[in-house]
């Protein structure tokens, strides 16, 4: 359980995070999205206790991060954006060091290392020197240290960066698995990953939460009309008029590629059948017809794109 209340962080005159409040419950995977410089990393650093907030409060598993930092941190596993490890140590030594730092006893250390190495697919590099590992392996060592002491709360900043596709699938499975029993906050740039993993999404922009909800709810919230993508063989240029006269169709534009059309229609109507009939009646061959779903990507881009000219710039003076 993570609870953040009114977190604000200033760097000199520049306010990186403006009074963000949110909570992540047990068994929940919450994704945090936002463009570079939106305040994601600052927020994450405040939640993990690395940066003290200028104002606001954080509790992790019911423990206040500033009043009882040790108890709170014990409940927390953290994978930072840049995984910095000690290059001269072997994987196993490093994990043992971290386990002892987290306060595990001698007898618990071995079991904890074994389990974390197994879950993070590190079994075959346990005795290798960290300095010789590839980026993907280092990322997994970082992830292993985050779950080593079985924290109830996990904060992962870009956990799948630098992994190959096969490893990404394995790590996502691990994250989904971990999210079932723990509280998990995930920051990522990879939008499909959010849709695959997260129960809830937070979009952060310029230090504020601009949207929050399940991926489905966010998609529904999106304004703009649904569109269809068509490919018609043998349709004349004036096919736009024919298509435009169909019930529910708002506009028709030629698309990219030969015979491609983009049809915008009112939400709630379904002109697909009529389009098919119209094409058949006129002898056009319908090669393709697909509904375009609004993706999280569209929502993300729409919420975080600004008309810079019209607004006062918020940059440090």
């Amino acid at each position: 359980m993570i609870e953040a209340q009114n977190l604000t962080r200033r760097y000199g005159d520049f306010t990186a995070v403006h009074g963000i409040s949110f909570s992540v419950g047990e068994g929940e995977i919450v994704g945090m999205l936002g463009p570079n410089g939106a305040g994601k990393t600052t927020t994450i650093r405040m939640i993990t206790g690395f940066l003290p907030p200028t104002s606001g409060q954080v509790t992790v598993a019911g423990k206040d991060l500033f009043e009882s930092p040790r108890e709170a941190r014990r409940q927390l596993g953290y994978l930072p954006e840049n995984v910095a490890l000690y290059g001269e140590m072997r994987v196993e030594e490093y994990l043992a060091y971290r386990a002892r730092l987290e306060g595990l006893g001698r007898s618990e250390v071995r079991a904890a290392i074994g389990e974390a190495a197994e879950r993070c697919l590190l079994a075959d590099v346990r005795h290798q020197v960290i300095g010789t590992l590839s980026k993907g392996y280092r990322q997994r060592v970082g992830l292993a240290t985050a779950i080593l002491h079985k924290p109830s709360t996990l904060v992962l900043d870009e956990p799948t960066v630098g992994l190959d596709p096969k490893q990404i699938i394995a790590i996502r499975e691990l994250i989904r698995d971990l999210g079932r029993e723990r509280t998990l906050l995930l920051s990522t740039h990879i939008l499909p990953e959010v849709e695959l993993l997260c129960n809830r999404v937070m979009i952060i922009d310029r230090g504020r939460i601009v949207a929050e909800g399940t991926p489905e709810a966010l998609r529904e919230r999106s304004v703009g009309n649904p569109t269809l993508r068509l490919t018609l063989k043998g349709a004349p240029p004036d096919a736009a008029e024919t298509l435009g006269s169909i019930d529910g169709v708002l506009s028709v534009h030629p698309g990219a590629g030969e015979g491609a059309w983009v049809v915008e229609y009112t939400a709630g109507s379904d002109p697909r059948e009529e389009i098919f009939r119209a094409a058949v009646a006129r002898g056009w061959v319908l090669l393709e017809m697909a509904r375009e779903r609004t993706t999280l990507e569209d929502i993300f881009v729409r919420l975080t794109t600004h008309d810079r000219a019209g607004e006062p710039e918020e940059v440090p003076s």
Partner: protein
């Protein structure tokens, strides 16, 4: 305590796994061995004044040069490297305080420093084999080496906690250590007794001469413990301060 021990053993291991440790150890022993042999050779000359050879060995010009060079080499990496690489982020989000990090790292460098000097005990052994050795001053001399090293390493630890650049840390260490030396050596510039006495408290060279003679003054021990403590306190504050910017 467990967290301090974990940091301590990691840091000590880092020293012995880096080539630096062996380079330092090698040259340290070469230089010290050379100094020792020069002292013994010149004292064997019947015209030279009588005196215990190790008293010349502790507190000579080369002794101070070595300390001045070795301190920044040993301490500059200590915290700066964590700040530079960013590993400080996972370190400081673990259940460990800034004070415990500083303590673990400082104890590790102090242990390494002590292990640099340990082989020179053989010189006392060589002397004891050939002549009578008064063990009191020898023990006091090593105590002095330990105390002075403890203070200089605390200064170095503090400098390392202030910056992510090892080079800057090394320069700050050298500057602070030189300043401390100078403070102890300029007491004859002043006529005021109070100033002279105050400067006498920080006169490292004078302290070492006393230690080498076998004089163990508790005021000196209190000075070294409290001054080292002070710089370690500053180091943990400097590390804490990094968060607020």
């Amino acid at each position: 305590m467990r967290a301090v021990l974990a940091t301590y053993s990691r840091e000590l291991r880092a020293y012995f796994f880096s080539p630096l440790a062996y380079v330092v150890l090698f040259f340290f022993l070469v230089v010290n061995g050379f100094i020792f042999s020069v002292i013994v050779t010149s004292l064997s000359d019947p015209r030279s004044p009588a005196g215990p050879p190790l008293a010349y060995f502790f507190g000579g010009f080369f002794f101070w040069m070595l300390l001045l060079l070795i301190t920044p080499v040993l301490t500059m990496r200590l915290i700066s490297e964590e700040l530079r690489s960013g590993s400080v982020e996972v370190l400081m989000t673990a259940p460990i305080t800034e004070g415990q990090v500083v303590a673990g790292k400082y104890l590790a460098v102090l242990t390494f420093y002590a292990s640099l000097w340990a082989p020179t005990l053989a010189y006392a052994g060589i002397l004891a084999y050939n002549a009578k050795v008064d063990w009191g001053p020898v023990a006091a001399g090593y105590l002095g080496i330990f105390c002075i090293g403890a203070l200089l390493l605390a200064i170095g630890t503090f400098a390392s906690a202030m910056t992510k650049s090892q080079l800057v840390a090394a320069f700050v260490t050298i500057a602070l250590v030189l300043l401390l030396f100078v403070l102890g050596l300029i007491d004859n510039l002043f006529t005021s007794e109070i100033v002279k006495q105050t400067l006498g408290y920080v006169n490292l060279v004078g302290h070492m001469e006393d230690f080498a003679k076998g004089i163990v003054d508790t005021r000196r021990l209190v000075f070294y413990v409290s001054a080292s403590w002070f710089f370690l306190f500053l180091a943990s504050r400097a590390l804490e301060d990094k968060k607020w910017r």
